[in-house]
Symmetry: C2
Subunit: 338 residues, 2 copies
């Protein structure tokens, strides 16, 4: 019996903010397996800001998402058929399955790996114990290089990446300060995640007010800053950087739809001898095993907390993605299929 697979393909490229009609739902048969392949039924899809960049035509650090092909993305699920001696039916796996119900992979496909769901929820492998967690781990340790007693700040602090940055910084003996949008997110960041302070950028009417709020939250300045947002938030953080501060540039979501996001005071890079460095965690394969081991231990043991926004059903995927780009999610955004 041939199974039916529903999938979202990229139908058109957005100009400015993406819309739901940039995606098209298709129904296609699940292909038969060739030798060495496995069939995975997705339980959860991951939605991440980087997908916005892939929707553009121009080449960035990777090739663009091709039109009329299934939207890329990380997925977790269960092996339901196998022609590979590396995987058994019933195995739980992470794979780059994309926005669809099922995906077929060679047993040695890049990124494909078994996951242990006995102590960690399957969906966490898309967030705290997955790419976002490793992103936080790498940017913090390799670029922000926090030392005990220093102050680490992070924007989008309640998100999948930011929430891990602050918790890992706390574990390294730092003062952790978040920047997030809205009182609920800030309260969560401080009360649940244990950050020392969190600044609500939506409560700041204008840049000077944001700067004043951040000054109050960082009385000893900022030594390591982890950037997910850009624009006025980055400007405010830069004005608080101490001498020899380090800024890890992980994302600049404020400019993902083509908005100008100039850096107001680049002369601070000189005056404070800052290091500002961009990175893509997929280019750092060497750190993944160590990072994942620490993240898994923290999540399993309860010392690393995370929160998810769960959209229900494949049809909800485009809407959930557009909400993510507007900051409507709270914590890691996933789509539950099963």
């Amino acid at each position: 019996m041939t199974q039916t697979n529903r999938r979202f393909v990229l139908a058109s490229r957005p100009s400015g903010a993406p819309r739901e009609d940039n995606f098209r739902l298709e129904t296609v048969p699940v292909p038969d397996l060739a030798p060495g392949q496995i069939l995975v039924r997705h339980h959860y899809l991951s939605l991440d800001p980087y997908m916005r960049g892939r929707m553009n035509e121009q080449r960035s650090y990777t090739a663009p998402q091709p039109l009329d092909e299934v939207m890329i993305g990380g997925t977790v699920g269960e092996v339901i058929a196998t022609q590979s001696d590396k995987f058994a039916v019933g195995d739980h796996v992470f794979c780059m399955g994309g926005w669809q119900d099922y995906s077929v992979h060679a047993g040695d496909a890049p990124g494909l790996r078994k996951i242990d769901t006995s102590r960690i929820a399957m969906s966490a492998y898309l967030g705290a114990v997955g790419m976002p967690g490793v992103t936080a781990w790498y940017g913090l340790n390799a670029i922000c290089e926090p030392k005990p007693g220093e102050t680490v700040a992070v924007s989008a602090a309640s998100g999948a990446v930011g929430s891990m940055v602050g918790q890992l910084a706390k574990a390294r003996g730092c003062r952790a300060v978040g920047i997030a949008g809205g009182k609920d997110k800030c309260d969560y960041v401080v009360r649940e995640l244990g950050f020392d302070a969190c600044v609500d950028y939506k409560a700041a009417g204008e840049p000077r007010q944001l700067q004043a709020m951040l000054r109050e939250a960082t009385p000893k300045g900022i030594d390591g800053y982890f950037e997910n947002v850009g624009g006025a938030v980055l400007d405010a953080a830069m004005m608080r950087m101490n001498a020899f501060g380090r800024i890890a540039v992980c994302g600049m979501i404020a400019g993902y739809n083509g908005e100008p996001i100039p850096m107001a005071f680049p002369q601070l890079i000189l005056a404070q001898r800052l290091k500002v460095q961009g990175f893509i965690v997929g280019e750092q394969p060497g750190v993944w095993p160590k990072a994942l081991a620490e993240l898994a231990a923290g999540v399993a043991g309860g010392s690393l907390k995370y929160r998810e926004t769960v959209a229900q059903g494949l049809e909800a995927t485009p809407g959930a993605f557009l909400g993510l780009l507007k900051g409507q999610n709270f914590g890691k955004q996933v789509v539950k299929l099963v």
Copy 2:
């Protein structure tokens, strides 16, 4: 017989561009030497862009130049009296003597050192074999980290720092590309200093034209960029940066009088995974001996070339400094006193 010393003190702080009346010429007696001290007669004063920052009230990476005190600066000259067993009359020395005819130093004063003028002109110790040369050496090697076959670009390419950056990059097997103001400077950079190309930013009517000229001069992109200027020049360079490029931020003279110099496209830091790092060479004492040894060997042997603009007489100092800030000098700006 008491000698007379003429000196320039900072009379007032500039708002916007400095003027000659920000400085005041005074005549004072040369003090008697205490035990351990030496008296140096200055032959040359150094003029450098960093002095502009010291004229401001607000603290930057160092304390401001105090009002009514002699303007700071590097000097070279001859020991004409000594109460120190480390120095003899007739020794040639580098010292932080400031804008004046004479200076008194403890024999162990920071920065004070003998210089060998048998194979290297005394004034070169203010430029190619001094702070500017070490600045070039450090920013290039420690931050730009050039590899053979890569492209290194530098702004203010005919200046004391930029001229060394390109020549050192060539010696390391790189393509060296300069950015300078005016045809004469660009011709000098290519024909005399041996850069592979030089872009005349003054010949570009608008940013897009500068970008096009730089694109032509850097067909394989830029891997290491050494910034002395900021503003539109930095924007154009950033648009040519290759993946994993390194930008050493040494100066942003375009903004030294308070002009806004926003960085137009900070998202390139992420898209190209750039490292952008500011530095102050005085904070890197460990590199000076090695850097000075290489620079001295290159200058003495003729492989490292430099050019000077020499103002005549102490009275010319403020005017020469204002000219330096406007790019009116060609190569290292010094003032000849003897």
